[in-house]
Symmetry: C2
Subunit: 175 residues, 2 copies
DNA sequence: TTAGCTGCAAACGTTTTGCACTCAC
DNA sequence: GTGAGTGCAAAACGTTTGCAGCTAA
């Protein structure tokens, strides 16, 4: 937990709160987060949240919509979208990959990783070096055969740090 | 061109030098790959390839289009798209993030990584374990401040391996 | 009561497709 | 010469928005 705190924005704090896998706890946390953010609790939002929180298939908006519609037949796809982005902005759920972005192409033929600046959106290549050679863990055997592993670092690039007048470029480790 | 240079504050300059000096080589390789795949070499394809190969800004299709148009004013955006996907299928370029995919949502509040099966498209969560704690390298200092690091493993999941009748789930390390 | 939320429909931006013409092989 | 590749226009797709009515606080 202390390591996590190094990285923490409210995301991690609320994430740790909700970590308990049982739904009532997560739902209670959801209510608390909504109250704190002065966001109204509605039936639709609860249903969407429960659907995503209790689903490990990484559903897309359409899948969430189809599933929630069984409970609320009148819900609309755009409400699902609005709710999903709201939940994300509250740190209650996350997205896989870069959402709402055009496809970007990469002509660098060497194996490398990416640093994505969340402020300006620029992506910089990072050549892998000894210090962070990534060992594929034994546990992957239980999931499948890995053909490639790519790390995406997210943060603020030097130029955006300068613009913010924040020179602190401290860094740590994550797991 | 030492490894160190890549990480110096002149990262971009040296990266561009590298690309420029390799261009003839890469172009020759491009021709060879096209010939092998029985894909025709056209002026448009060469221009698109050169643009992506000599550009480390991870351009989107529109940016490639605008740039190539200076050379071939009559080229169309859809040709650029078709060519980019062709180049990707030939393994000559890659895409950043999951291309041509809907946004997928993730209700798992714990810090975790993803295993993406390139056959069936399923994404599975992988809880980080001691064995693959990811140390953020010192060199990231030269790029910016990292707030998050996520690993995306790509490969074939157990079920798809079984369907292919390929039981080999060996794995190695990548850097 | 009332600001915030919803559903509808229509718009949006990116990407893909059908077609007739063109050009690399 | 022939079929793969191209440009055009129009469609398709996922997603977002404006608006009028509804509802949680």
């Amino acid at each position: 937990m202390s390591e996590q705190l190094l990285w923490s924005s409210h995301y991690y704090l609320s994430a740790m709160d909700t970590c308990a896998s049982n739904q009532p706890d997560r739902l209670r946390n959801f209510e608390a987060v909504c109250k704190r953010a002065r966001v109204r609790m509605t039936f639709q939002r609860m249903a969407v949240f429960q659907e995503v929180a209790g689903n490990d298939e990484h559903p897309d908006a359409e899948a969430v919509y189809l599933s929630v519609r069984r409970q609320i037949p009148t819900i609309s796809l755009d409400t699902v979208y609005r709710t999903l982005w709201l939940l994300k902005s509250l740190g209650l759920i996350s997205t896989v990959g870069a959402p709402r972005e055009k496809t970007r192409f990469d002509g660098n033929p060497a194996e490398h990783h990416h640093f994505l600046c969340t402020v300006c959106g620029r992506i910089q290549d990072m050549q892998p070096q000894g210090s962070y050679t990534l060992e594929i863990p034994e546990s992957v055997k239980d999931v499948g055969r890995v053909e490639r592993a790519r790390i995406e670092f997210q943060g603020t690039c030097l130029e955006c740090l300068k613009l913010k007048g924040d020179g602190d470029v401290s860094h740590g480790s994550t797991s």
